[in-house]
């Protein structure tokens, strides 16, 4: 393991912020104060953090409808995100976009996205831009196992190969697209990486519930892509701990499935066990992070609930830069 103590503490904190953010939203949504559709990322934290801990603000990512984790991992302001989800005029996107559209271009975060499969081509464009600048920056498209079935994803993969663009197609296989199983919808027996391989890309696979595994895979992938070898694809096997969206009755799950996933596939628990058993970090240090993150999220929710609301006049701002 090549991570420093500092890096490990940061990674754990980031994963914990995502987890706490989502678990808290799950509870807050029951109170009826949050409008719209919300898709939670709990269970998949090791992916977002294991990828983004390798990136700088100059690297690009583009996300999906399940975007909170990617946003946090890429450095979006957590309180600004919470305000956005509550629809405040001081939200990260001024209440215009909400949960499904959180973005911070200055951080290289090109947005969550409500259109499944829209991200990959946009990532190719960002990668072309980085390629022109020639400074080793990359663009990463997060996609689900459902999004990998969109023509846009296929077109983007081929184009990236043709153009040797520094683009990474990062597939988070959480085994479901909405209420449908991956084995049904992905014709290659649920295997996504082999498709990317067929497009002529080097591919990696990994356990998306193990932060260290993701981090190591991504070290190799990024070395390869930053060195100018062209695009790459990564398929990470992961789990979502909540419904597709908040309110999903989840009748597609087997009996006891969620309890089993929480017991056996929890990336935060796995992280804690491995670093404490290897005596790399103390349980008390992680407890302290848990405590601080809990407070941060408490504040984020309290502040979001009290944050200024938009007015009718705000509908017409930010449509154009000049008009």
């Amino acid at each position: 393991m090549q991570l420093s103590r500092e890096q490990m503490l940061i990674a754990y904190r980031q994963m914990k912020v995502i987890r706490e953010f989502e678990e808290r939203l799950h509870n807050e949504i029951q109170k009826g104060e949050i409008a719209g559709f919300t898709h939670l990322y709990s269970g998949q934290e090791a992916v977002a953090v294991g990828v983004c801990e390798h990136l700088t603000d100059g690297d690009f990512i583009i996300s999906t409808h399940r975007g909170h984790g990617h946003c946090i991992a890429k450095g979006c302001d957590v309180k600004g995100m919470m305000r956005e989800i509550y629809g405040s005029s001081e939200g990260l996107c001024k209440g215009k976009g909400g949960s499904m559209h959180i973005a911070d271009v200055d951080k290289g975060m090109l947005g969550a996205n409500g259109i499944v499969g829209a991200g990959a081509p946009i990532a190719v464009g960002a990668a072309i831009s980085a390629q022109l600048d020639g400074d080793g920056r990359v663009a990463i498209a997060f996609s689900g196992d459902g999004a990998c079935n969109q023509g846009t994803t296929f077109e983007a993969m081929n184009m990236a190969v043709v153009l040797k663009a520094p683009c990474i197609f990062l597939f988070e296989n959480n085994h479901y697209s909405e209420h449908t199983g991956v084995d049904y919808a992905v014709g290659t027996a649920g295997d996504i990486a082999s498709r990317a391989e067929a497009f002529g890309m080097k591919v990696w696979r990994g356990n998306g519930c193990d932060f260290f595994a993701v981090f190591e895979v991504m070290r190799e992938v990024l070395e390869y892509v930053r060195a100018g070898h062209g695009p790459a694809a990564v398929e990470l096997d992961t789990e979502r701990f909540f419904g597709h969206f908040e309110g999903d009755p989840q009748r597609y799950r087997g009996p006891g499935e969620l309890d089993r996933l929480r017991a056996t596939r929890d990336c935060l628990e796995a992280f804690r066990t491995s670093v404490t058993e290897a005596k790399l970090l103390k349980g008390a240090e992680l407890d302290q992070i848990d405590f601080e993150v809990g407070r941060l999220i408490d504040e984020a929710v309290d502040e979001a609930r009290a944050a200024p609301r938009p007015t009718a006049a705000d509908v017409l701002t930010d449509i154009y830069i000049s008009y």
């Binding site: 499944v116 449908t180 938009p310 449509i319």
Partner: protein, 341 residues
């Protein structure tokens, strides 16, 4: 007759039409739900529950759960229709028309014309449309005005459960490609719906309220807004003639012109943004064909030229409301040239 929700009326129609005609097939994402999962098929029956029970009754051959691939879904509907089936394809949200526009616009809409009248493409594309659920800029759009602009397509927008039943039955039996816009904010709305065969022909508007002072032309989820405004105005002694277009292509031009000739004043209420939209289309038609009947300029009530915002306050401000319609009617009645010539 039975009281049912709009989504139940759609579901009943699909059951009846699949029963009646073996060529009718249904396809779309999660229209079965639970495929390839421990929960098994029909775990959901469509995200709006409009296709519930179809799989159990008609099987996987005719109730096709698809991957997330809108271009392939709509293209496959086009192809199956050319090959003799009557596909009813579902897009979860009208906004996803953006993903498969070519198959709608350049393919199914144009086949018959390009092929010299020698083909039929009796496909129905059902989409959930509209604002009001804080679903944000990519899940709230009205879209039907854009589709109305495409020659070769028929465009249907039911405003209530019974209307949905009559119009969907007609859409499935119609020999041309039909885009069927279901107002998602009204899926749970209820009314009496005929349980037996019920068809509403296309191109015939419905009079929702009668009046002689101002005509209000609208469709879809805006019909309830117009009706509510008309009821409030009636209490002030103002009579509104409210027309529910039902279909915007074909459009019941005659009903609009007849009403305007009666009232001399027209409000067009539409959920699409104003530029090149349905409201300007109707306003222009009335101005060119019933100019002398108008006693005041046509008033268009639409959202502003902006995407649909997320936050509750913003979306409320975006969507036309009862107050906007009332104000428009008052403005027309107060127009200085409005007195009889």
């Amino acid at each position: 007759m039975a009281i049912m929700q709009l989504r139940e009326a759609i579901n009943l129609t699909l059951h009846q039409e699949m029963e009646r005609d073996p060529r009718v097939i249904v396809l779309g994402e999660d229209v079965v739900g639970g495929m390839g999962t421990a929960g098994g098929p029909e775990a959901i029956g469509g995200i709006w529950k409009t296709t519930e029970g179809l799989y159990a009754k008609f099987g996987a051959g005719r109730v096709i759960d698809t991957p997330i691939s809108e271009s392939a879904i709509i293209g496959a509907a086009a192809g199956a229709a050319l090959a003799g089936k009557r596909p009813v394809a579902e897009l979860m949200f009208a906004d996803f028309i953006g993903v498969c526009l070519d198959q709608i616009w350049n393919q199914m809409a144009k086949f018959r014309y390009m092929f010299g009248g020698k083909s039929r493409c009796p496909a129905v594309i059902r989409v959930a449309y509209g604002a009001g659920r804080n679903a944000g800029p990519q899940h709230s759009q009205a879209v039907y005005a854009m589709m109305t602009a495409i020659p070769g397509l028929k465009v249907v927008i039911p405003s209530s459960p019974a209307e949905a039943k009559g119009l969907l039955t007609q859409a499935i039996r119609d020999d041309d490609p039909v885009l069927f816009f279901e107002p998602k904010a009204l899926y749970a709305s209820r009314e009496e719906v005929p349980e037996g065969e019920y068809l509403i022909p296309f191109g015939h508007a419905r009079t929702v309220r009668e009046g002689t002072d101002v005509t209000i032309v609208t469709c879809g989820q805006m019909v309830a807004v117009a009706a509510k405004a008309a009821d409030k105005l009636a209490q002030q002694g103002i009579g509104c003639d409210v027309l529910d277009l039902r279909t915007t292509s074909p459009i019941d031009e005659e009903a609009i012109l007849d009403s305007v000739e009666l009232t001399g004043r027209l409000v067009v209420l539409d959920e699409n943004p104003p530029r090149c939209g349905l409201a300007v289309d109707i306003a222009a038609n009335v101005a060119t064909k019933a100019f002398s009947a108008l006693r005041a300029p046509v008033k268009m009530v639409t959202p502003p030229h902006s995407p649909v915002p997320f936050a509750v306050e913003l979306e409320r401000a975006y969507l036309p409301g009862v107050g906007d319609v009332e104000a428009a009617v008052h403005e027309l009645l107060g127009y200085r040239g409005s007195a009889p010539r």
